[in-house]
Amino acid sequence: MISGEVEASRISVDELEDMAKNRDVALTAYFCRGDECLYVWTDYERGRTEFTATKEFDLRSRPLFHALSGEMDAYQLKCPGNDVISLHYGPLTTGLWEAGAFKVLTYGERILNVTPDFGYKRREVEKKVVGRRVEEAIFLIERLCGTYSVAYSNAFCTALENGCPERAEYIRAIALELERLYNHFHVIQRLTAAASQKVAISHFSALVEEILRLNAKLFHHRYAFGLNVLGGVRRNVDVNIIDKKLDAIEKDFEELVNILLSSRIFIDRIHNTATLSREDVLKLDSIGIAARGSGVKRDVRTFDSFYSNTPYRIACERDGDSLARTVVRIREIRNSIEIIRHLINELPQTALKSEVECNGFRYGRVEAAHGDVFVAVEVKDGVVKWIGIRPASLVNYVAFIHAVERNVFTDFPFAIESFGLSFADSDR
C-alpha cells in the first residue's frame, strides 16, 4: 500500500542512469499519456518509485518494454527453421479455463517458443474508467481481474487518499491477505491438478472454498468486491469469525502440505521445471513470486511502513523452478496467516471511513498474490481524467515465456500455473 505524487518523484534521465549504475533498478511500467511517455522505475532495495518522461533512454536492453507497450509478438521466435510446427491453442479451451490463446512453436516434443495471444478478453477497462466518478471507477477496477480485486481496488484507493483511518487500513490488509491465501491455495490446487493428484485437488480446492466462504461472511461478497471505498472500507469485520476459521484452515493446510511435499511423484514434476535464473529475473524485470522464487527480493511490502508493524517476513528461494515458486507460496501462506492473526488482535477502534478530496496525479501500488500491481491515476474534482494500470501478470508473462522455453510439452501446465498468471489480468 504505497502511494505518492507522480510529479514529486520525477527524475531526469541522468539521475536515473546514476541510480542504475550501482543498484538494481527495475522497469515497472510504461504508459503513453497524451504525447508524453511515462516510464516508471523501482528500486526495490530502497523502496523508491521514480518517474522519467523521455524516449532517449536506451530501452533495447529491457525486454519487458515490448510487453508494456502491447507488442507481445516481439517475443515470438523469428525464422525458427523448416521443421517447426506452429500451433494456436485457444481461445475456448477448458484447459486454460479462460478465454486466452497461446502461439506455440515446437519440433514435436520440446517447446521452442510460447507467446500468449491477447485480445480475447479485452474489455478496455482503462478506457471505460476515464470520465467516471471515482466512486464508480472502483467497481470497474475491481472487475479488471476478479481474483485480485482487493489488490487493484486497494492500489487505486490508496493512490488517491492521503492515508485513511487506521481501522480501515487494517481491514483492507486483512482482505488483501485473505485474497493472497485463496490465490496461493488455488495455485497449489492447479499444480496438483496438473499432476493428476485427484485427492489433493479436492483437499486444496476445499481450502479455497473455505476462504471464499469466510470472505462472503465478512464482506458480503465471495471475492470482497465493493469492500474498498474511497477513504476507507464499506464494512466492519467480525473478528471472531476469522479467528476460529483461521485455526482450522492452518491446521488443515499444514497436514496437507506435509503429505504433498513427501510425495515424490508430485515433487518430480515441479522440480527443475521452467527454471528462471537470478540473471533472467534482473534482465526481464520480473516481479512477485517469479522474482522471489529465483532469489531476488522484490516485494512492495518490504518498504511499506504499514507492514513493518506486522510479523511480515519476505519469503525467498534460490532455485527458480516451479518447486521454488511453490515453496515461496507455502511460506507466504504461513506468513499471511500470521499477519492476519496479528491484525485482528491489534485491530484499532477508529472510524471506517474519512472524507477524501480527490485531485492531482498520483500513483499507488500493492503486492497482490502474483506480483505488485501499479496504478497511476489523474483525478480532477472527483472525476478520473487519465488512468494507467500495470497488471502484474503482464510482466510475469515475459518471465514465463523465457522460463518455459526448452521444456517438454507435459511440463507446460506446471510452468504456467506456478507463475499464477491470469489472462483477464494482463488482457484488460
Binding site: 481461445p91 475456448l92 479451451t93 477448458t94 484447459g95 479455463w97 479462460e98 478465454a99 485480445g119 480475447y120 478478453k121 479485452r122 474489455r123 477497462v125 471505460k128 466512486e135 464508480e136 467497481f139 470497474l140 472487475r143 479488471l144 481481474c145 476478479g146 481474483t147 480485486s149 488455488h186 485427492v199 489433493a200 485437488i201 479436492s202 483437499h203 480446492s205 476445499a206 479455497v208 472454498e209 471464499l212 466462504r213 462472503a216 461472511k217 458480503h220 461478497h221 465471495r222 471475492y223 468486491f225 465493493g226 464499506r234 464494512r235 488443515d252 497436514e255 496437507l256 503429505i259 491470469s422 489472462f423 483477464a424 489480468d425
Partner: protein, 213 residues
C-alpha cells in the same frame, strides 16, 4: 495411504443442496439487495453504478457491489434467481461446455469451484466437457468481446441438438458494469443466472434448471 486417512478424518463436506435449502454457511447475505421499509429509493437509484435499481431491483443488471446498503437496503440470502425459458428434454446427466467470452476471472473461478467437494456437481450428473461436440449445455460467462464471440458462435454451431445456452453473471446477461450489451445480442439465451459472480449454488441451480430438474 495418508491421503485416504486424511479424507476419512475430514468427513463429508458436500452440501445437501438441492434436496435441502442451502445452509447459512453456503449462502450468507450475498444475494440481491432488498429495500428496507424506510429505504431511500431515490438516492439508491442515482448511486447505482449499473442502473439496476428503479422501482424494484433488476437482478440481471445488479453487480452486487453493496453500495445501496448505505441507503438502507439489505442483502437477501436467496441466490436461486435463475430464469428458465427452455430446458433440455432429458434430465439424468448433462455435459457442459464452458465458454468464457471476456470475464474478469471471478466467474471462471466460481465455475471451477463447482468441482470442489463442497458442491461436487458430479453427484448430480453434471460434467464439464472440453469439446462442444459432446456438450448439451453451453455455459457462457463474461462480457462479450467481439473477437471471442466469433469463437463462441462456432462452438454453438458445433454442438449437437438438443442444446441449451446458459448465460451466467451480470456481464453476460446485461453487460454489467462494462457496457450495455449482453450475450443475447449474439445468441438466444435459455437460462439466465444472475450474480457478479454467481455463487456456485446459483450456478448449480441454473444448470439443474437447464436439465429440467
Amino acid at each position: 495411504m495418508r491421503w485416504i486417512f486424511r479424507g476419512i478424518k475430514k468427513g463429508i463436506l458436500t452440501t445437501r443442496y438441492p434436496e435441502e435449502k442451502p445452509a447459512y454457511d453456503e449462502v450468507p447475505e450475498i444475494g440481491l439487495p432488498v429495500p428496507d421499509k424506510c429505504a431511500d429509493f431515490a438516492s439508491a437509484e442515482s448511486n447505482c453504478p449499473t442502473g439496476a435499481i428503479a422501482d424494484a431491483v433488476d437482478a440481471e443488471k445488479c453487480i452486487f457491489c453493496g453500495r445501496c446498503e448505505d441507503f438502507r437496503f439489505k442483502r437477501s440470502r436467496t441466490v436461486e434467481l435463475a430464469e428458465v425459458r427452455k430446458a433440455l428434454p432429458f434430465s439424468k446427466s448433462i455435459h457442459v461446455f464452458v465458454a468464457d467470452v471476456g470475464s474478469c476471472n471471478a466467474c471462471n473461478r466460481e465455475v471451477e469451484m463447482l468441482n470442489n467437494p463442497f458442491y461436487d456437481f458430479h453427484r448430480l450428473g453434471i460434467f464439464f466437457t472440453p469439446t462442444p461436440r459432446h456438450a448439451d449445455v453451453l455455459l457462457v460467462i463474461g462480457y462479450p468481446v467481439e473477437k471471442t464471440v466469433k469463437a463462441l458462435l462456432e462452438a454453438y454451431d458445433a454442438m449437437p441438438e438438443p442444446k441449451v445456452v446458459v448465460a451466467a453473471g451480470s456481464c453476460a446477461l446485461s453487460g454489467g458494469i462494462f457496457g450495455e450489451r449482453g450475450i443475447d445480442r449474439y445468441i438466444d439465451v435459455d437460462v439466465r443466472v444472475p450474480g457478479c459472480p454467481p455463487p456456485p449454488i446459483a450456478l448449480l441451480h441454473g444448470l439443474l434448471k437447464a436439465s429440467g430438474r
